[in-house]
């Protein structure tokens, strides 16, 4: 397999590495950059465990995206949500609402939530549920995740983060 030297900007930092050209973004993050916070659940775009944020707004399945396609874009993983050790309101909301059980879906859920709220700061419950489709959680029945997204939306309303435009970059 042909390899290529690539540069990925993840959580505001550039990473240079060499990998086969067919490397998925998920593999690149986990295996080349050793950023294991983004999870493998299916590898086929069906579970959302690998969700990351592209350029602050768009959520994508990193297992369906080639690493080369992500070059030149800003990738945010859940590891990039905290700032100076301070949790992002979405993270706080997930913790406090009990939206985290086994936690395996959580990195993807949080990034999906970031994207939902970046595009629609005050989603209705139906909009939240529709927005979360594609991210599977087998532990919570989604109830507390929906509550967490609602709470995060309220928290963000009062915070500075939103004004600075985009999230988690």
């Amino acid at each position: 397999m042909k390899t290529k030297i690539m540069t990925l900007c993840v959580n505001g930092r550039d990473h240079r590495f060499e990998a086969p050209v067919n490397r998925t973004l998920l593999q690149a993050l986990r295996d080349d950059l050793k950023l294991t916070e983004t999870k493998y659940g299916c590898g086929t775009g069906e579970c959302g465990g690998c969700t990351v944020l592209m350029d602050g707004k768009e959520s994508i399945c990193s297992c369906l995206t080639l690493a080369v396609e992500a070059e030149g874009r800003h990738i945010t993983t859940v590891g990039g949500m905290t700032r100076d050790g301070e949790l992002h309101p979405i993270q706080i909301a997930f913790i406090e609402e009990g939206a985290i059980q086994c936690g395996y879906c959580t990195p993807g859920m949080i990034m999906k939530t970031a994207s939902i709220l970046a595009n629609n700061p005050h989603p209705s419950e139906d909009e939240i549920r529709e927005g979360l489709e594609g991210n599977i959680c087998r532990c919570t029945g989604y109830e507390k995740i929906v509550l967490a997204v609602q709470r995060a939306s309220q928290m963000l309303d009062n915070s500075q983060i939103q004004k600075s435009g985009g999230m988690g970059q």
Partner: protein, 783 residues
């Protein structure tokens, strides 16, 4: 000691923060120096075949391949992934017969996905490429997908020790007539005014934990076999691996990784044997085995599918005179949990109502499906689908309100629970039924939906259940706990209970904090398999109940020692002392006191006065210990109410609302309890409406992906109301009863009953898909 208490509070999970930051380490996240990658080569093209020839030579030549392992290159011992052999007394184990029927790599493929050889390479890609170069010549064998087929007299015999391909039936020596129950069913049934009888079909449902099975193993330079695993039962897997690889337990180290969902799917061993066998082949280098989702699906266990025949006899007034039932389940390719599930399936049945007589039979047959095993609820959702529907059928025919019938005939305090001879210690089912009925608007909706026209039909249904808190007395119940007091009076609790994500470590810490009177943030829970003593594992809804009991006992042991030492120092009799606000006080003279910190400190920093030989207090670091065997199983009850809307043109079912009232005894952490009920409901609705693993005639899995196997998504889930009914159990620690396994049980019966209320048709096959609904509606029209 401190004012603050934690039991009953919504304490966020201890690991929620690291999970929210993506820092929790799951097995697949591990990166160890010098790590190699193992690939289990599986048979994808056959569900039943003999391997005539296995040629690994091309695979071995791929650059970067370190080793290829044929069946003969690994241990030749058989094993059983389940752990029932460790959980029952020897005499009972003998009744089960020889149940070790699995090999690490096999030349007899018994289901699609069976492991035939292994490859160890420098990278995952290389292992993958080499796996593609393995050449296998198969001789296909006949494929059986149901118990009926494999039980035929001329069928191929899977195992000469199990004639007729029957893996298990309730053994005659323990269950005369191979049946569980009481009374003379034939005599009592004859007295019935109404007999309702039906055969129900239960689907093969997959746990679908979001973290696919992954492991790392390392046979290190000290001769220890280390295995990083997300098992729910580390202290059972440890001796099982020790036995399989002929090592003393002290040379098998298990390191628990964060568990990305269990639901029974990680009960006992999964792919630990294959991973450890690979590690033993390359001493000194860790080996990681990461399964793909497809692999996880076809090669790991599921809920037992099967056929549930049930016959209920009732008097005109509803008196249930007799029940006759037989669950024939599909074991899949290996024995695994073949004995446990058919027994408990009957236990949940016998434990529910006051039948005059009952006879339950349960058996399992080998087939060429992936093995069946443990799945949250362990036979209870299967029973719920059959029992709750047959009860409603009887109620309909007799024109009795299903809620009233259940209130009258459910078992309660003093009646035998799922295990005959162990009576219920508490029961809040009436309150669950009353509050649940009220919350959903039962009476009014039941009447309103009785006569409907139009294309959308609504219905409301009820389902009740009982479960258990730990498996005493049927299975071993044992948890140990050590509580070490540091010199500053902070605490380290060592135990080996797993936390699957349900929050058991959080809850155990809440219990410890209240028992010791210490703030939670001064207590640390250490889960280390070398340091911790035994625990049977996180299963049977036992961790809070039994683990909590062990924690309380070990904390009490610490308090006893504190008082003992304070008595000496203060010159006050022990019985006159009490501990409060981190001080040991004389009850009648508050000035006589000693701080817990001082006792702990002088225990560690203990000096002898050279002049008089006296010490500054009692020497010795305080450590509390408990090896806890609970005396009971305090079963919880629950009532679930469902409202559905069925579109009779498309056959689609929309669940509008679920009300789940659960008899929790005492909720240690209400938020966590709700989470268990809500998540359980998701699995229950899936089993009832959409989920089933299907096979082609050749036995190949048709839907090993989340697109083809439909779980309910966030938009499909109904509004959920949870009601925690708190009537403390008189013997349980803090009055608590279990919830984890109860979650996926009675939304099954409630939803099925709601559908039949909407349409006037009872559905005997789960999942109740639109196709099945349309089919039934067209048959109804014809009739």
């Amino acid at each position: 000691m401190s004012e603050k208490t934690y039991v009953g509070k919504n304490v966020p999970k201890l690991d929620a923060r690291e999970k929210a930051c993506g820092q929790a380490v799951y097995a697949a996240d591990l990166q160890l120096p010098g790590m190699l990658y193992g690939k289990i080569v599986r048979c994808w093209d056959h569900a039943h075949a003999r391997v005539l020839k296995l040629d690994l030579s091309d695979a071995a030549k791929v650059p970067g391949v370190v080793k290829v392992l044929a069946p003969k290159d690994v241990t030749q011992k058989n094993y059983n992934t389940g752990v029932l052999d460790l959980m029952v007394p020897e005499e009972m184990g003998q009744l089960l017969g020889d149940i070790e029927d699995q090999r690490i790599f096999t030349d007899h493929v018994r289901h699609q996905g069976d492991a035939i050889c292994g490859i160890i390479a420098e990278s995952e890609e290389i292992a993958e490429i080499a796996a593609g170069k393995v050449k296998v010549l198969y001789e296909p064998l006949p494929v059986y997908l149901s118990a009926e087929e494999s039980a035929r007299p001329d069928a191929f015999q899977f195992d000469e020790r199990k004639p007729g391909n029957r893996a298990f039936q309730l053994p005659e020596q323990m269950f005369p007539g191979n049946a569980y129950g009481w009374g003379d069913v034939d005599v009592e049934m004859a007295k019935a005014d109404l007999v309702v009888e039906e055969t129900f079909y239960l689907p093969k449902v997959k746990q679908c934990q979001m973290e696919p099975h992954a492991y790392v193993a390392h046979y290190d330079q000290t001769g220890r076999l280390n295995c990083w695993t997300s098992t729910q039962m580390p202290k059972c897997v440890q001796p099982k691996l020790a036995r399989l690889f002929e090592l003393p337990i002290s040379r098998v180290n298990l390191i628990s990784t964060t568990i990305g969902g269990g639901f029974g799917g990680r009960l006992g061993m999964v792919f630990e044997p294959e991973t450890c066998a690979m590690a033993l082949a390359v001493p000194g280098r860790p080996v990681k085995v990461q399964s793909t989702r497809e692999e996880d699906w076809i090669a790991s266990e599921s809920r037992h599918p099967g056929k549930y025949w049930i016959k209920l006899g009732v008097k005109k007034d509803g008196t249930p005179v007799a029940v006759d039932a037989h669950f024939t389940s599909n074991a899949g390719a290996y024995f695994s949990h073949s004995s446990g599930v058919p027994f408990t399936t009957g236990g949940w049945l016998t434990g529910m109502y006051k039948y005059g007589a009952i006879r339950y039979k349960g058996d399992t047959y080998y087939t060429n499906q992936a093995p069946s095993g443990a799945f949250r609820g362990y036979g209870n959702p299967q029973t719920n689908f059959a029992l709750e529907q047959i009860v409603d059928r009887a109620c309909t025919e007799l024109n009795i309100d299903p809620v009233e019938w259940r209130k009258k005939w459910h078992k309660g305090v003093g009646d035998d629970g799922w295990c005959i001879g162990v009576p219920y210690s508490s029961c809040a089912l009436d309150e669950c039924l009353e509050r649940g009925a009220e919350a959903i608007g039962w009476k009014e909706k039941r009447a309103r939906y009785a006569n409907q026209s139009g294309s959308k039909r609504r219905g409301v249904g009820v389902g009740v259940m009982t479960h258990t808190s730990g498996a005493m007395p049927m299975l071993l119940e044992h948890t140990t706990c050590t509580v070490k007091m540091n010199e500053d009076a902070s605490v380290v609790i060592t135990l080996s209970c797993s936390d699957l994500g349900q929050g058991s470590h959080t809850v155990l810490k809440q219990i410890a904090a209240d028992t010791l009177g210490m703030p939670m943030d001064e207590i640390h829970i250490l889960v280390n398999m070398d340091a911790a003593g035994f625990d049977i594992g996180s299963h049977a809804s036992r961790t809070t109940y039994v683990g909590g009991g062990a924690v309380i006992k070990a904390c009490e042991d610490v308090k006893r020692q504190l008082i003992e030492r304070a008595a000496i120092r203060l010159g006050v009799p022990e019985e006159d002392l009490e501990i409060k606000d981190r001080q040991v006080f004389a009850k009648h003279d508050r000035d006589k006191r000693l701080s817990v910190m001082e006792i702990c400190h002088t225990g560690v920093y203990n000096f002898t006065n050279p002049e008089n030989g006296e010490t500054n207090g009692v020497p010795g670091q305080i450590t509390g210990y408990a090896s806890h065997f609970p005396g009971h199983n305090s079963p919880p009850f629950g009532a679930c109410f469902a409202e559905v809307e069925v579109d009779i043109e498309t056959g689609e079912v929309k669940v509008i609302e679920l009300v789940i009232a659960h008899d929790i005894g005492r909720a240690i952490n209400p938020m966590a309890v709700e989470g268990q009920l809500q998540g359980g409901a998701h699995q229950a609705l899936g089993m009832t409406l959409t989920e089933e693993t299907c096979y082609t005639e050749a036995g190949l899995c048709r839907n090993n992906s989340f697109t083809d196997y439909k779980m309910l998504g966030p938009t499909d889930m109904p509004k959920m109301t949870t009601i925690l009914v708190e009537q403390p159990d008189p013997i349980a620690p803090f009055g608590m009863k279990s919830v984890g396994e109860a979650g996926p049980v009675n939304p099954v019966g409630a939803t099925a009953n709601a559908i039949s209320h909407a349409l006037g048709i009872m559905f005997t096959e789960a999942p109740i898909t639109p196709e099945r609904i349309l089919q039934a509606l067209s048959e109804q029209k014809v009739a």
